[in-house]
Symmetry: none
Subunit: 217 residues, 4 copies
DNA sequence: TATGAATGAGAGTTCATTCAT
DNA sequence: CATGAATGAACTCTCATTCAT
């Protein structure tokens, strides 16, 4: 019965509106969090920007932190899509790592700068849930990267210090990504220099990887 | 005559007590900022912890941010001392980079963990003064590192993509430091694993550097 | 359609309640400012007196000073209405001045004593906004009075020392008003004496004016 | 014994120093109160300005309000001296009133502007003691003026509405003084205009008086 | 006497969250 | 569902006054 109602035209419209509102609020929050940071953005501002009332924000999202978490997850998903795509396309793991690096700077940080800011600028010091999410994101990306590194290692036939090594290297790579991305997003360098930075940073990462996996033999 | 008065025993004791209070407050703030973060620590808590009144905190420090800035500067100084010492001691730039890396994890993150937390966990989004300090710290450490990298490059006789490259590599290294340090300080790994992480991270950095600076082959 | 919604009974009631709260807070502030002065009245007291929370006060008024400014403006409006009415009614400018003087003491200082206190007792030394308001009030009333004086002068066909004279005389009259009003409001004289004071003060003003505008005799 | 000690050279020097400190503090307070107002001046500022410690200020003066009271009394004394001198010198009561008026603007407001500011700008809303002092000052000057007015009246042989009338007129005159003085001290008019204002204001006062005491016959 | 560090009550303001309508 | 007024705890900062030395 309940489900039947859902296919009613009115219900459909409602559903659409619901979805629309949800997206609008999220989008407003994204813009504001990216621009001013989570703490300096008030729920009222988000409501104003999305042209709904404060109460409506709370109807769609449990609390302010939930907004951040959603955005964080979305951003993470976007990032992983971009990186994953590059790895898949590439002929070799090394090539994949390189392509992914460039995609990170040229695509993610450029076309999804708000997402990048939320991912890399929103610091610790929020609630527990967010803290957990943060850790989760590191782990997920680390896992992606360490799988790639493992493939690399196997290809090279080398041996790591321990079974954790690849995840540690992944952490290192993530560190480079974060730091350089933060610089990218924070200081408005001219495009040429930005390109240079991206190239050098990827070089650094690939260098680190190659050396380790490398001519160990 | 006037100056003679300043060396009066009473005056000396006063000066000592003044110094002591100052240190006590700073230390309480350090502990609390490291544990809960700047924003979640109230001035009242700092006062309680240092067993003085709120007013006294404000007698010694202009405002809450000033406390953070002092601690930040102190931490930065400590870190640079530790790293600098290692670079000086080392026989070669590469060795220096390696030693410095290990000192960072084994000495700074271990024995000065509160300072490390303040340096690497306190996020952006504070006042303007703090924001400036933050940028300053990145620049200072970057400069230290890029000088070392430049020496390395000269030894290896290689050429970088551009004159900025060394500072970009420095940024990358700092990124690795920060990320791994954050992991260190946040997740209480067992000491063995910690050791392993440090070793691998330094390997990664050295690898990145060596590859870039040298067609070592 | 949208506008129709605004006339909904519920919306009307809300609007009424909103207005009511607003007036209640303003009225509480008026009473307290008149009784204890702006500085010695805390926002919490205003909230208590109006039976709302502190937050609600800030919902309706940007800050404490805004309350004072609103009250000040209201008081000024009330005063000018009373004086203006008398000037209009009167047969001659002199009569107008006289009537206005009596209305000031008998009506404004008596029935709007809180407003009078806010107008004449709240000292300088507040924020910039208030300071500007204060000056504005002096200028407005001065202008009203000096226009009346100018008409008087024209009737008498006399010449003043300079084109500023009438505004200076206006300032003098305002000075008398303020001083005597302050006395009125501060010392609880018996009504007979109050009447006497008002009569004498108006005599003084009229005397000053008449002498200046004309050896009419 | 005690008294004998007082004539000791050392005791004399101490007494001198004591007196000097006292004056220095009072003078610093005068400058600051005149410049920033009582409330916006902190005891620490007064101490700094007079080059003593906060404790010393409290040794010489019971509390901050006492400083204001002393200054207020001093200012009042100065003002009465100036006005009194003019009344005595003058040939007739009317002349005296006129001279006193000019002396008020040209001498008191000009050469003792800090005192004038303290007398006329420091508003109500301070402690009870100060409130009392304020009233006292009004009464004293009123008495001075009403005595002069009474003499005037006798000369003219006219009759007032009541025995209080002269004191009411005095209040009016004081009101004019205060208002115009405040304008003088607050708005930096050019000297010519200042002169004009003073002349007109005195005219107004004399006019008010003359009319009342005047052609009653 | 003189010092100045210490106090701590109190002020204004913010804002995430709730809930009656 | 949407609204937005209401809440009130929490926070930073000020400053007159005290008192051990």
């Amino acid at each position: 019965m309940e489900q039947a109602k859902k296919t009613t035209p009115q219900a459909q419209r409602r559903e659409r509106e619901r979805e629309y509102r949800y997206r609008t609020i999220l989008s407003a929050a994204e813009t504001l969090f990216a621009a001013k940071g989570f703490r300096k953005t008030s729920v009222e501002e988000i409501a104003d920007q999305s042209e709904v009332s404060v109460g409506t924000v709370y109807f769609y999202f449990k609390d302010k932190e939930e907004l951040l978490i959603h955005l964080f997850d979305e951003s993470l998903y976007q990032l992983r899509s971009i990186l994953g795509k590059e790895f898949e396309r590439a002929d070799s793991p090394v090539k994949g790592m390189e392509k992914a690096g460039h995609a990170f700077f040229d695509e993610f940080c450029t076309h999804y700068s708000k997402k990048a800011l939320i991912l890399f600028r929103e610091s610790p010091g929020h609630g527990k849930r967010m803290e957990a999410r943060r850790k989760n994101m590191s782990e997920l990306i680390s896992k992606d990267l360490s799988q790639a590194i493992d493939r690399l290692r196997k290809d090279a036939g080398c041996k790591f210090r321990s079974k954790n090594s690849s995840s540690i290297y992944a952490m290192c790579i993530l560190g480079v990504y974060e730091k350089v991305a933060y610089h990218f997003l924070t200081e408005p360098d001219d495009p040429d220099r930005a390109k240079e930075i991206a190239l050098d940073a990827v070089d650094f990462i690939i260098g680190g990887i190659k050396d380790i996996t490398g001519p160990a033999a």
